[in-house]
């Protein structure tokens, strides 16, 4: 399915909203430059897992697409798609264009 970059970014922001709703510490900024892992990231490993699972659920609920984000390809790319909101947006836009629903 063909998505615009901003559609995917909106999905990621929806998932960040879900994380923020249950968050006691500093809220996660809904920005393309938000780091998703590493020292600069406000997310810990459990947050990242929850974020990816929420995006998968939105894809299924809103677009009827069953897609595993952390697949072998994503995990083996030289430039990790999980670095930031922007890199995840680019990765998903590209991958979903060729994914089976």
């Amino acid at each position: 399915m063909i998505f615009e970059n901003n559609q995917i970014q909106t999905l990621i922001f929806q998932a960040i909203d879900e994380l923020n709703a249950l968050r006691e510490e500093e809220l996660i900024d809904k920005s393309p430059s938000t780091a998703l892992y590493g020292q600069a990231s406000p997310l810990d490993s459990v947050d990242l897992v929850n974020l990816l699972l929420s995006i998968e659920e939105f894809l299924e609920d809103e677009f009827d697409i069953s897609f595993t984000i952390a697949n072998e390809k994503a995990m083996s790319l030289k430039n990790s798609p999980f670095k930031s909101v922007a890199s995840l947006t680019d990765y998903l836009t590209t991958e979903l264009a060729t994914a089976d629903s």
Binding site: V46, N50, L53, E57, E60, S66
Partner: protein, 236 residues
Amino acid sequence: MDTSNSTLVILITGTSKGIGLALAEHYLKLGHVVYGCSRSEAAIDHDAYYHFALDVSDEKQVKSLFSAIRKQHKGLDVLINNAGVAAMNHAMLTPMDTVEKIFNVNVFASFLFCREAVKLMRKRPSGRIVNFSTVAVSFSLAGEAIYAASKSAVETLTRVLAKEFAEFNVTVNAIGPTPVQTDLIRNVPDDKIEQLLSQQSIKRLGEFADVINVTDFYIQPSSDFITGQVMYLGGA
């Protein structure tokens, strides 16, 4: 999680007969919502029972089962990974087809259900996963190389997943039943069963109630500090 006063959403695999059927009937009697699956159609007719006829090792079918639970109940409280197959045979006479089938159902499907279950449990205050091992692991039973090896893998999965899922308040434990009078052992000669029972501290076949007692224990709210454990019946 209160197993007596609140309604839980419980998924049990392999509910067409034997232990799975007994577990499903038990938790329905307690007033819980039970999702079941097996290759065949439903063996239970109850308002709170939802059945899916599927192959437990088929990822697409299994994901659609979890998707249905999520849409209907927004989450899952308990998974009982009961579905399993056995083949008792000398290793030299065991075809690779059998090896693949046993690992597909006992190991790969157990993992698949654990993975999908924790995704639904993360939105609940807590979750419980109960896997099925066997005394064949602790006894290293001759004639059950592949079955015991597959269940050893289930035990390792149980211990590792207990660590990974703890952050989501999900406990993962296993039960190791003795032989119980079900289809799983119908082709095992009586003398082999007797030989096995003689290795147990308490030398009798297991009953459905023995298995239910352990799943009840793992599921109860006060067991939230019990995880990564394998409990064998009969003193194996």
